[in-house]
Symmetry: C2
Subunit: 343 residues, 2 copies
DNA sequence: TTAAATAATGCAAACGTTTGTATTATTATA
DNA sequence: TATAATAATACAAACGTTTGCATTATTTAA
């Protein structure tokens, strides 16, 4: 077993064929400057010698890594994974790879991740800010260094120089609540998440706006801003909310799929009939809403498309004159109410 | 707005302080060879000048990228994401990043991904082979080039030179079926996946072994090897299976969480009571088994731990004498039957 | 006070490419 | 056949680090 570990490099091919490294490089690039016969010789030699270009050397030389850095708050949320899938798909079609890292819902980790991406490993960054992220200085800092950035989902503050992709959260929840009202529901409860997240602010706003527009009484008692970040505790919180309400709601608008499912679970266990006693709507429509019995009416987000859009914007930035110090594109994606058995 | 785009590099610091690049490099490395006062001057200058090391140059020079390549068959399966989370966690603690790519359930993509990882961007590779993967030549090829490889989950053939991490699939399903038998179930159905996947072969084997051990009649009619790779079609397949069975089962052992949930959904819609008419067991225990009503008994896999283990093995390989041409460690992880309302 | 020992720093090659410019080889033109 | 034009190739710097070895500065010992 001859342990020939050394990688074949351009130099090896060059020496073997008695030509220069530059010619080898250009031949493999199909550069018309090298004679056809030479090119063929080189390509053949490369193949038989098992040549593989060194990506790192290429990157150092060209100043491009063809890697996109992606920072998401967490892995265990289908929404983010689906966005990543969209990013990956678009990126690969354009010859980019993606390097995902999780900020674990922590501003500090987000900052660290961003800093580590400043080390030249990535050509640009896609970021979904944490709920803890209040100051955007770390992001602006990156932008000032000339690294393209696109933000999505939970953006509390518009950042000059970065593109933004968001969902029409307020409009979506307005419509969902309006739908419940038009169905004749009188006591519509709201289950949302931490108000530090812009998306939850907006979804709450949509709820309030719809209620006001139709002159529905707003009971604080029917409103829960879920504080947990962990499924297990969400469950506990929702259970104690539902068991403690003074007025029994006849519909519940929830701000995530998971809130919706947990709500339905608890309602069923409490003996309520869905949708006759209580109707439930979820938000997201990733995965299980369709499988649950009864199936759950959801606001469907174009999650995969969001990923694609985000990647598209970033890659466009790569090709723009990098002088544009105040680029700022905001893309709002539409949602759709998918009706199922829970309403 | 002065558009100073050029990155600060070691040379800039060196020039500013009138010292050599080598000293700057060593100072930032806290190398004791440089005088404390110099080191401090350098560190200060680096900070005020906003120096960020160039990862690519570092990698080229050191021959290490500190990136681990991960290839999974698909993103939209919580199992793989959870494994990745485990990998990421362990990797980060050891100063590695992970670069995930999906083979999209295609052998061809798997091969392409592997080849792209041969270009020196990653220090090692973690791979979960596709169901299409029959020949392991592409993997052996990588190993022969001296790139450390660890395989997990669906391994049809042991690959000399790579570590393996798998679940005790056969044992797990044996125990689950045994549990059903001891509960007095007489007509236990089986819903598995494509038999090209080793994991499904093993889970089927466990079912058969248990049935044989307890002299239970095995009806082909009660066995479904689901062919779909897509949730939507899985649903259709399972529905038509359940509606078409000649004997009504009193228990169904299913080989994934999703099969289990879809089974329960269809049973409920058909008017059966779970678990009184039919008991159901799922496999995986990621996510929704607990939320469904009734909650689903599952075989729980140590998925996150699997990721950690896989990463650990790979990183260990990095530190081994790279001469070991026939290393091969096989790690089998234990499962646990989690009892819930569906049985 | 000088040689020897040690501490601090600098030089330059190496990592494997790309690419502008210089050089050489070949063909076309007169 | 000499010369201009063009085609093919080679040279060498650059990308930003790391690191073995050489050199210079400083301290210690005699």
């Amino acid at each position: 077993m001859t342990s020939k570990k050394r990688r074949v490099k351009l130099e090896d091919i060059a020496r073997k064929l008695n030509i220069s490294i530059a010619t080898v490089s250009r031949a493999l690039d199909e550069n018309p400057r090298v004679k056809l016969s030479t090119r063929e010789k080189v390509i053949n030699a490369a193949k038989t010698m098992g040549y593989m270009p060194n990506q790192i050397a290429k990157s150092l030389s060209s100043g491009k890594t063809n890697i996109i850095g992606v920072i998401i708050p967490r892995y265990d949320e289908p929404f983010f994974i689906e966005v990543c899938r969209g990013i990956d798909n678009y990126a690969r079609e354009h010859n980019y790879k993606i390097l995902i890292s999780s900020s674990r819902n922590s501003f500090e980790f987000e900052r660290e991740n961003l800093i580590s991406f400043e080390r030249g490993l990535v050509d640009g960054i896609i970021l979904s800010p944490t709920h803890e992220t209040e100051m955007f200085a770390h992001i602006k800092n990156i932008i000032n260094k000339g690294i393209p950035v696109v933000l999505f989902d939970n953006i509390r503050e518009e950042v000059s120089g970065a593109d933004h992709v968001i969902i029409e959260d307020d409009k979506a929840s307005f419509e969902a609540v309006e739908f419940l009202i038009k169905k004749g529901k009188k006591r519509i409860a709201f289950i949302g998440g931490i108000m530090e997240k812009k998306v939850f602010q907006n979804r709450y706003k949509g709820y309030i706006d719809a209620m006001k527009k139709y002159n529905m009484p707003i009971h604080d008692d029917l409103i829960l801003h879920c504080k947990s970040l962990d499924r297990e505790f969400e469950d506990v919180e929702i259970q104690s909310f539902l068991k403690g309400v003074s007025i029994i709601p006849d519909a519940i608008f929830t701000c995530t799929d998971n809130y919706g499912l947990l709500t339905m679970k608890t309602l069923l266990k409490m003996g309520y009939n869905i949708p006759d006693d209580v109707a439930v709507i979820g938000f997201g429509d990733l995965g299980l809403g369709e499988v649950f019995v009864p199936s759950m009416t959801c606001i469907a987000q174009p999650t995969y498309e969001m990923g694609q859009k985000v990647a598209e914007l970033l890659i466009n930035q790569f090709n723009e004159p990098n002088d544009v110090s105040h680029r700022k594109k905001v893309v709002k994606l539409k949602t759709q109410l998918v009706l199922r058995d829970s309403t």
